[in-house]
């Protein structure tokens, strides 16, 4: 009954639903791709780029280390060291491609799953664990790496990103022609988030002010248990057309293509040409979070199909096939990953719990008298248990 019906309606043109259903398994003809799942380098009329060998090896390393951060954190959650963890398994290329396309002066507004982008920005991976362990709500300093705090309310950060970009316009760091000066913002969000009013309002503000912001949507096909079809009946990148700025669908499991498209979009923004929507077409290989059980709502077939598109495997094949990396390289990266895993494991366990009295800190820039009193009361209360069994 709530099924959409396809076909021509006089005057309104073709109903696009069946023409461009959002869930083509391969992303459809519009998908920008530079490296196939089989590791074959293909070319694209608009978004081609020459990548240096270092860059290619770098992407590989980045993705392997990112995956390790993720699997390590997942394991830490299983061992009770984290309360929860939002896995990015399968989305490494989308995140590294986007993260590496950034310049230092650019600014990132992440969701709660942007561990790979955080890594690219130089955020200490250990710092990402605090929020999930429950010892803080993000302990890195956003201004240090131009990487904002994780945002949990779906889509809220897209407006922050747009406002920040409006600030860049006012600071005169857009369209000056100076590559070290011109800056842009990238706003990350998910396919589910695209339904939030805030996200659509951010499109409106960005278009209205021509703000230098790239809306980078990782369409991982799922919003917890809800498939992308619940959020849109046409390919998501086309949403941008309704707001008057370009949208592109890129193979989010292809780090080369994601890099190329994102950097072109960022450059467009830096040059003062306004917003772009990038849909990184990818797949959430794991559960939504460690508390989720995806077997309740999706078929393992799907998963198997996407395993063949693994973002790391295809780069490895390409590097090996073209003699750009040898066993030593792969082993070294593996070793580095192991070390990182070890560091994270030990570091996580050593993360101290916050002090109870810290509850009152930083509610405001200076503590109010009211809170001072509550703090004192609580302090005295805690002291009354000293020595006693509580």
């Amino acid at each position: 009954m709530t099924q959409q019906q396809a076909g021509e309606t006089p005057g309104f043109g073709p109903d696009l639903v069946e023409v461009f259903g959002p869930s083509q398994q391969d992303g459809g003809p519009e998908l920008v791709q530079l490296l196939t799942p089989e590791g074959e380098r293909v070319h694209h009329p608009e978004f081609d780029l020459d990548f240096s060998e270092d860059q290619l090896r770098g992407f590989y390393r980045d993705m392997v280390l990112t995956r390790r951060i993720d699997t390590e954190a997942t394991a830490l959650q299983r061992h009770g060291e984290l309360g929860i963890w939002a896995q990015l398994l399968g989305q490494e290329a989308a995140q590294i491609g986007a993260g590496r396309a950034l310049r230092p002066q650019d600014y990132v507004f992440p969701t709660y799953r942007e561990h790979g982008v955080a890594y690219c920005r130089g955020v200490n991976p250990l710092d990402l664990l605090g929020l999930f362990r429950g010892v803080d709500q993000g302990s890195w300093d956003p201004s240090e790496n131009n990487f904002g705090l994780y945002t949990i309310v779906i889509g809220a950060q897209t407006l922050h990103a747009t406002g920040y970009a409006m600030g860049m316009q006012r600071d005169g760091v857009v369209g000056t022609g100076d590559p070290d000066r011109d800056a842009a913002v990238i706003a990350h969000f998910g396919d589910g988030a695209s339904s939030q009013g805030d996200v659509n309002e951010s499109f409106i503000f960005a278009a209205s002010y021509n703000a230098p912001v790239v809306f980078f949507c990782q369409n991982n096909q799922w919003a917890i248990s809800e498939p992308i079809e619940r959020q849109t009946r046409i390919p998501l990148y086309q949403r941008a057309l309704g707001f008057g700025f370009p949208g592109v669908r890129v193979d989010g499991n292809d780090v080369l293509a994601t890099y190329a498209v994102t950097q072109a979009a960022l450059q467009r923004a830096r040059e003062g040409q306004g917003p772009t929507f990038v849909e990184a077409y990818t797949y959430r290989m794991g559960a939504h979070t460690t508390t989720d059980d995806p077997t309740r709502y999706r078929l393992s077939d799907d998963l198997e199909r996407w395993k063949l598109k693994d973002p790391i495997a295809r780069v490895e094949v390409y590097l090996r096939r073209n003699g750009l990396a040898d066993d030593d390289f792969f082993e070294a990266v593996q070793q580095e990953a192991n070390d990182l895993g070890h560091t994270l494991r030990e570091g996580c366990k050593a993360l101290p719990d916050p002090q109870p009295l810290s509850i009152f800190d930083h509610v405001f820039t200076e503590m109010t008298e009211e809170l001072e009193q509550q703090r004192e009361g609580f302090d005295a209360y805690l002291a009354s248990f000293e020595g006693a069994h509580r």
Binding site: I84, D136, V153, I154, Q231, V363, F378, Y381, F385
Partner: protein, 325 residues
Amino acid sequence: MSKITLAKGLNMGLRKAMEDDPKVLLMGEDVGKLGGVFRITDGLQKDFGEDRVIDSPLAESGIVGTAVGLALRGYRPVVEIQFDGFVYPAYDQIVCQVAKMTFRSQGKIKMPMVIRIPFGGGIGAVEHHSESPEAQFAHTPGLKVVACSNPVDGYWMIQQAIACDDPVIFLEPKRQYHADKAELDESATPAPLFTSRVVRGGTDVTVLAYGPTVKTALSAAEAAAGEGKSIEVIDLRTLSPLDMAPVYDSVRRTGRVVVTHEAHVNLGMGAELAARITENCFYSLEAPVLRVGAFDTPYPPSRIEEDYLPDLDRVLDAVDRSLEF
């Protein structure tokens, strides 16, 4: 008779309501195939179909706003907000539309909608997953606000809320979903929805609680009994309208009151209860109404949430302070 959890009681209550009235619909994020992140709607889409258990796009204002339209068309939508902290995108629709439709239309429109909100903390979650937004809704005329505290109430209250022709904000203490079991007698006659209940008699101090703090209050009463203090505990159950009669009755006997909730103390339910009790029982009060709630700070990282939330000791501390007056 079977022993059930709160989650099960709610699930059974929803099922019963859907069986009884084909106009009852469930809507929300992940309520369908997944059965909700807390599994409260488990199995219902399978049995009642996708038209009655509706997975929605990820947009809370959209969920509540379309539910308004469904109610206008004669349906009785039961909306699930996934976590307390995510009700705010729908806040405008709730306070400006849901709450006001009946008044605006001089009674020509009914708005029989239930907005279910898992609320409160204590589950070790990240930000926005442990909020207690009840005071904001109770401050809004046109909304009714109730909180269940146990499996049996869960079963009955959700059905009563759905049967109510006014919009009801239905608060579920998520920490209790799978905590304790209780015997459900499906043939019993439940107390009316908008009534409070003395859940433990006592003579020295009255403790008012609702939702997650009822358990805390009962434990406190138990502990205090060991020290020879007799605490009366009232489970408020309804926050708007308040059912003050049993409260006043109790206060006139004990002369001392402690209110406890997980919401911030400042402008929380305790403030209103204190104001009303003081006005109505002025000459009976031996001590001011004392409030035990969350501090007036944002919800902290979960590792210290138990310090932040009212617990048995803080309730007892307040009881002692009350007795010292």
